[in-house]
């Protein structure tokens, strides 16, 4: 189980202003099997969220990550929970990758007490500070300077850790990225900007939003690396490389070439601005789970049935978490007024009818 397997990433890395890491890497059967299971779990979780949404158990926005699992998993495999991660609203799987539970995910999506944000955040606002996950941000691009700020904290505290700030191809044009990158470069912050290029920002294809969609080069004076984001090993290799680089030399950009299978959010069928052929082409040729499945078979690490069994297990886990989440009560009404300020540091607050509800804050 811990024998070493050696192989190459699907594609060579393309680099900008730096020497790319080696394509050759090592893994173990155990790691391969873990990757398979973890990605299958994420996939199943997102598909279940889709159903729950359609059943009206989840409200508002809900952005699913299926197709992009290799990025979350490969990144986690390269780093520790002392490294920080921050991302946008498409955050369910990132949270899971950091050690969040399915129950916390589903309960949050349904607005229940057992949710990771006690039902107060919703789909876009997951956090797990104890494992270095700082959200879950709804404003496109805002998480980039925030992530550089985490990196600032790490460097200031001499923690020898790094921050991965994830953002989409749409976000990649945001001015605050360029501002934060310049500051990070001036101050050698251990910030890794990870552009998850799924080729669309909502309904806008990358080339319609960016004059130069070569996102790994957009840092100009900052090094960058283009990575096959559908290959969990390439992601892992790139993140390891980036972490070392960042600790020594400051910021670097990783462009992950990936794909989202779902529409942008639940209101987007996801098929008006791209062809069904394009989607099924990616599913057939580049699916990150399939790639691992094939590797497992190629190395004879499990049978078709073994993997089916894992998928069944995963399905059960998800179903159980959903059942549990449904049991979790809605937040107490008094929670409306908690956490506006740190406990003990607020004063008072009012409801819509100030004469009726005036609360001394906890």
């Amino acid at each position: 189980d811990s024998t070493t397997l050696t192989f190459e990433t699907s594609l060579p890395f393309t680099s900008h202003n730096c020497e790319p890491p080696s394509r050759t890497l090592e893994t173990t059967p155990k790691e391969l099997m873990t990757f398979f299971r973890d990605m299958a779990l994420m996939r199943r979780m997102e598909i279940a969220a889709d159903s729950l949404y359609k059943a009206k158990l989840i409200r508002g926005f809900c952005h699913l990550y299926d197709g992009q699992e290799a990025v979350a998993i490969g990144m986690e495999a390269a780093i520790t929970k002392k490294d920080c991660i921050i991302t946008a609203y498409r955050d369910h799987c990132t949270f899971l990758g950091r050690g969040g539970t399915l129950l916390q995910v589903f309960a949050e999506l349904m607005g229940r007490q057992a949710g990771c944000s006690k039902g107060k955040g919703g789909s876009m606002h997951f956090y797990k500070k104890d494992a270095g996950f700082y959200g879950g941000h709804g404003i496109v691009g805002a998480q980039i300077p925030l992530g550089c700020g985490l990196a600032f904290g790490q460097k200031y505290s001499k923690d020898e850790t790094v921050t991965f700030a994830l953002y989409g191809d749409g976000a990649a044009n945001q001015g605050q990225l360029f501002e934060a990158l310049n500051i990070s470069a001036l101050w050698d912050l251990p910030a890794i900007l990870v552009c998850e290029n799924n080729h669309y920002g909502m309904g806008t294809a990358e080339w319609r939003a960016a004059k130069s969609p070569a996102y790994y080069k957009r840092g100009d004076y900052v090094p960058g690396l283009k990575v096959d984001g559908m290959d969990v090993f390439a992601v892992k290799q790139a993140c390891k490389f980036a972490k070392e680089h960042a600790l020594k030399n400051g910021p670097i950009i990783l462009e992950m070439d990936t794909y989202r299978y779902h529409g942008h959010s639940m209101s987007d069928p996801g098929s008006t601005y791209r062809t069904r052929d394009e989607i099924s082409g990616v599913r057939q040729e580049r699916d990150p789970i399939d790639r691992i499945r094939k590797l497992i078979f190629a190395h004879d690490l499990a049978t078709e049935k073994d993997l089916k069994d894992i998928e069944k297990e995963v399905r059960k886990e998800v179903d159980e978490a959903i059942a549990q989440a449904k049991e979790s009560p809605m937040p107490e009404p008094s929670e409306l007024f908690t956490n506006i300020y740190v406990k003990g540091y607020g004063t008072e607050s009012f409801g819509p009818d100030r004469k009726e509800i005036r609360t001394v804050l906890p």
């Binding site: 989840i58 508002g60 039902g119 709804g138 404003i139 806008t204 319609r208 009818d353 004469k355």
Partner: protein, 325 residues
């Protein structure tokens, strides 16, 4: 014979674009995607990509470009996918748009419309639910319109586009799908509403309720309930919160001597009005970031019963005062 607010906005855009070649649209997903909320549906096809401009997700950049185009004499209509994202560009709205005519002593007027859904939608959490009415309403140089019905949507949007000054046009996502009866006059392409005039949606003698956007509907429902208890509420749809139609409010208050202001976000109507028998009753958004959970969300925004209660309080207090006098 009803029309949805969405269609009313769409037809207003369509007609103004067809009437004036200087009018163009710009924003995220307004073109090929037909609008995140489909307000601009069909307009790319009809007017082409020069006049319906899909932008990258860079609000500061495209808003600045819009304002610059307005300096040049074009009439941009800028869509914010939601007004929450207008914060990225708020410096251009305030410093580049609202103040230029003044700073240039009238040389550089800025005929631009900033529009999009504002305030609470359903289940979208704290970062996507803010109401910007109170902020923009404090800014001289801006006009701030808040349509409620399809008539408002058509009449006010057409007015906003024709106006030579910067207009912040605050729509409401939940109203987009609502239908309102609409007259032939309103459907006429020449139809337009005056900026700064409120509309009395329901007449009454006992208490004045002022509201804008979605809260007008709630206030009308409250008035219905109050009527059953013998309280005749006058409901004023403000339509414009900068300028505020003080005359209409004052005239109403002079009649009713009681005022309830209803606002979904932070308080806007901070004027003191005379002729009051009872202190102004204010219903506004709770003093909290918007929570996600459905039950908490409901507690965070005004409900019909809040309005009913406040109106009664105003009436009973007033009458008990009168009795004791």
């Amino acid at each position: 014979f009803g029309e949805r607010v969405r269609d009313a906005l769409n037809s207003a855009l369509d007609e103004e674009m067809s009437a004036d070649p200087k009018v163009f649209l710009m924003g995220e997903e307004v073109g090929e995607y037909q609008g995140a909320y489909k307000i601009t549906k069909g307009l790319l096809d009809k007017y082409g990509p020069d006049r319906v401009r899909d932008t990258p997700i860079t609000e500061a950049g495209f808003t600045g470009i819009g304002v610059g185009a307005a300096y040049y004499g074009l009439k941009p209509v800028i869509e914010f996918m939601t007004f929450n994202f207008s914060m990225q560009a708020i410096d251009h709205i305030i410093n580049s748009a609202a103040k230029s005519n003044y700073m240039s002593a009238g040389q550089i007027n800025v005929p631009i419309v900033f529009r999009g859904p504002n305030g609470a939608a359903a289940g979208v959490g704290a970062q996507h639910s803010q109401c910007y009415a109170a902020w923009y309403a404090t800014c001289p140089g801006l006009k701030v319109l808040t349509p409620y019905s399809s008539e408002d949507a058509r009449g006010l949007l057409k007015a906003a586009i024709r106006d030579p000054d910067p207009v912040v046009f605050l729509e409401n996502e939940i109203l987009y799908g609502e239908s309102f009866p609409i007259s032939a006059e309103v459907l006429d392409s020449s139809f337009c509403l005056p900026i700064g005039k409120a509309k009395i949606e329901r007449e009454g003698k006992d208490v004045t309720i002022t509201a804008f956007s979605k809260m007008v509907g709630y206030s009308l429902q409250a008035a219905e309930i109050l009527a059953k208890e013998g309280i005749r509420a006058e409901v004023i749809n403000l339509r414009s919160i900068r300028p505020l139609d003080r005359k209409t409010i004052n005239d109403s208050v002079r009649k009713t001597n009681r005022l309830v202001t209803v606002e979904e976000g932070a308080s806007v109507v901070e004027d003191s009005f005379g002729y009051l028998d009872a202190p102004v009753e204010r219903i506004a958004g709770a003093d909290v970031p918007m929570p996600y959970a459905a039950n908490l969300e409901r507690l965070a925004v005004p409900q019909v019963e809040d309005i009913v209660r406040a109106a009664k309080r105003a009436c009973y207090r007033a009458s008990s005062l009168a009795a004791s006098a």
